[in-house]
Amino acid sequence: MGNTAWVLTATALVMLMTPAGLALFYGGMSRSKNLLNTIAMSVMGYVVAAVVWVVAGYTLAFGTDIGGIIGFDSLFLSGIKVTDLWATGSIPVLLFVAFQMTFAGITVSLASGAIIERLKFSTWLVFAAIWILAVYAPVAHWVWGGGFLSKLGVLDFAGGTVVHINAGIAGLVVALMLGRRADYGKAMFPSSVTLTVLGASMLWFGWFGFNAGSELAADGIAASAFLVTNTAAAIAALAWMTIEYITYKKFTLLGIASGIVAGLVAITPAAGFVDTSASLIIGAVAGIVAFYGVNGLKKALKYDDSLDAFGIHGVAGIWGAIATGIFANPEVNELGTGLLYGNADQVMIQIEGIIVTIVYTAIATAIVFKIASILTGGARVSADAESQGLDEVEHGEKAFNLR
């Protein structure tokens, strides 16, 4: 009952992350003429996932394993009783369904950050629906649903691979297929850094549900996951802020918010496995590598990952997955032993997991996006629409009408 109480709460917290936290974090970074469209991608990513998940997504990810590749029991959750319990944590299975739904929802919405300000909204809706089934559900199955990566021993406490690498790669692939925005390279000021910071704070809040909730129990490991989540986010913000200050002599709020998120991403796979000291290192490195992911990599390669879905989630997610292999401390959680505690293999296993995910996600996302694009008569809005802004063209609305 205590476990159920906590996971009910955690599910609500994770839910808030997408249509509120991420929507504001991303929305505030878009230009004001695309603010609502950017928010709409997060909101509807969650909405589409919520429906698709109960229809088929859950059973593909967590149904009875078929050859390590996919799961299946039945559509529409039929057969699950109110009294059924999930083995871990003995929480109601229906609660596990809801908890996992919120992860699917945020993952697809995270990817939207790479492709804002130029994608047709209808394409997004179709893409999101298919992607949950064809990309998210299998990867979740491999790592968490008893699939082959879990058998291999990949450690992913709360979704470094399943959520962040997955979303980062998907975003990057779609950004490359969709091409750059017409104004790429020009000054495109964020509509509201205020909203972005508020979004980041709400993400941080929700992330306690994400990471400490993934224990599915209200116990010491959940408490430890909670604390390291907080610590990693904080030190990553400090790290990003410091390195940016050294580079540009300003303490940008966008940098602080981005650092927070980078730290949260990196600690995600490690949350239930590492101790506080490790979290300080994981977070600090996350702030730095993501800073270069955004400031170096993207500039060098000139793709238009508009809000750095890959630069932050992909890059810090990869670092976090590897770091889990290094720092996993069996005194924290006997299920994970990393390099530092004598298990050198774990790092290689983690890397395998990363590579498998990258390869599969990249290919499958490309196919899904192509299909979505064909089904909706082309994925990109017209040049005129892009210049007018998608709020007006796609939604017929304005973000703010202040006197």
Binding site: M29, A187, F189, E244, T247, T252, V294, N295, K299, D308
Partner: protein, 112 residues
């Protein structure tokens, strides 16, 4: 009548308004504008890129006065708006052929 249009620094608005009020100028119209001039704009950061923002916030004050007052008004504005630093702004004077007060229909000098 003449229209005296002044572009000034935003934080000088109160001072200029007070100075004009002392001259018994009872009407003026103010708008927020952006100025490009010798004063250099600042730069803003966005995700690791630094963009120079050429346009600086300025305030435009428009006041229409009878011809006799023009020099006095200019004088007062110059005094109250000056900081001595670059970017203090400009004053432009042009001719107004007709004025109407909407409420009463009064015309010209009666209407400014």
């Amino acid at each position: 009548m003449k229209k005296i249009e002044s572009i000034i620094k935003p934080f000088k608005l109160e001072d200029v308004k007070d100075a004009l009020a002392e001259l018994d100028i009872t009407g003026m119209t103010v708008s927020e504008v952006k100025g490009y001039g010798r004063q250099q704009g600042h730069s803003e950061l966005y995700r690791g890129a630094e963009y120079v923002v050429d346009f600086l916030p300025k305030i435009k004050i428009e006041v229409v006065v009878v011809d006799e007052l023009v020099d006095k008004v200019i004088d007062v504005i110059v005094k109250s708006a000056r900081t001595g630093k670059i970017g203090d702004g400009k004053i432009f004077v042009s001719n107004v052929e007709k004025s109407v007060r909407i409420r009463t229909g009064e015309l010209d000098n009666e209407a400014v």
